[in-house]
């Protein structure tokens, strides 16, 4: 009887052992599954984070794009303002030129049908510049060029003050290089030689041209 019970118990024990092994296997499998699930969860969280980052990046890009757009808008506005100002200035200048041209055309129009008053005005304007040219040669009277002068101008200036007209002839060399005032000072200081050729001065003659008093 004990043998039968032993055999039964041993069978039970074996069955339990097999059951235990099976359960262990199942446990291992379950653990594996748990690990897989954990890995999946991690991957999911990573994916979520990545998606969030991408979303944030897109958001930032959108914001920067908005800012750039605004900047471009402002630049375009400024450019348009400057261009409009330039155009306005150009328009003003063109209008002024147009007015001038209209005036000139207005002056030219009557001349074509030969209106009398503008013609007379033109003649007067043409006469005006001629008179000074006629008057200019008259004061330039020819004088006796008895001395070589440094300047090529008609009027010979005094070599000392370089302002007044040289109208004193020094003899014997006949150089005409001093004005009245400098001649006086020249004589008072006892300088008895010509400034040009250093010749001895024996006589000083005041000469008068057509324009002198």
């Amino acid at each position: 009887m004990w043998d039968r019970q032993k055999a039964k118990l041993q069978e039970d024990i074996a069955e339990c052992k097999t059951k235990i092994t099976q359960v262990d296997r199942e446990l291992a499998e379950i653990n594996k599954a748990i690990r897989n699930m954990e890995m999946k969860i991690r991957e999911d969280t990573k994916a979520k984070e990545e998606n969030l980052a991408l979303a944030e990046q897109e958001h930032a890009k959108r914001e920067s794009a908005k800012a750039n757009a605004e900047r471009r808008l402002e630049e375009i506005r400024q450019k348009t303002e400057v261009e409009s100002r330039c155009f306005k200035d150009d328009i003003k200048r063109l209008e002024d030129e147009l007015a001038r041209l209209q005036k000139s055309m207005g002056v030219n129009h009557p001349t074509v049908p030969s209106t009398h008053p503008p013609g007379v005005a033109d003649r007067n304007s043409t006469r005006a510049p001629k008179q000074p040219t006629n008057q200019r040669p008259s004061p330039a009277s020819n004088k006796q060029s008895q001395a070589p002068t440094q300047k090529t101008s008609r009027r010979r200036d005094c070599v000392i003050c370089k302002r007044e007209e040289a109208c004193v002839i020094l003899l014997q060399c006949a150089h005409q290089v001093l004005c009245v005032g400098c001649n006086k000072r020249h004589e008072e200081k006892g300088v008895a030689r010509c400034p040009c050729c250093n010749a001895k001065v024996e006589e000083r003659i005041r000469v008068f041209g057509a324009s002198s008093n």
Binding site: I160, C161, K162, N198, E203, I205
Partner: protein, 191 residues
Amino acid sequence: MARGENNTGAHGSGNVPPPATAASTAAGTAAASGKQQARGAGAEGQSVVRRLQSELMALMMGGDPGVSAFPEGDNIFSWVGTIAGSAATAYEGTSYRLSLAFPGEYPYKPPKVRFETPCFHPNVDAHGNICLDILQDKWSSAYDVRTILLSIQSLLGEPNNDSPLNTQAAALWPNQDEFRKMVEKLYKPTA
């Protein structure tokens, strides 16, 4: 009427008003240029200032190569001039600075000209004094700053070795290569 002096005297009395107007204009210009120091009092001082101003204008407008001058500071009676050594001479490529001091009796008296830059030349001494006849006994009222500078520039290439201030330079002048070396050795331009 044969004597011109009597004629000059007679007409001189007739020309009394123009000098008066000239004096008044001179006074006006003197008042206008108050900053300048006029040594000579009266008409002569103003005439000297006006002459120097006209010479300055002529120098600034005229384009003489190698020479230039300008008043030093506010004193129109003290100028600083610059002379460049002429080509084909021992002084080619050099630039010398000079000082010109005008007396109150200019242009009846010559200005005092001196080399500021040391110059190795038979007619220039160690202190920069220049032995040039037109600056001494041969001075003429017709000379001005431009002619003085041009004469000194010409003197650099054509010295007068008969009356040297620098005997070493006069003795060395025949040997132009050695002379050039000495010129370059003693050349110290003032910045």
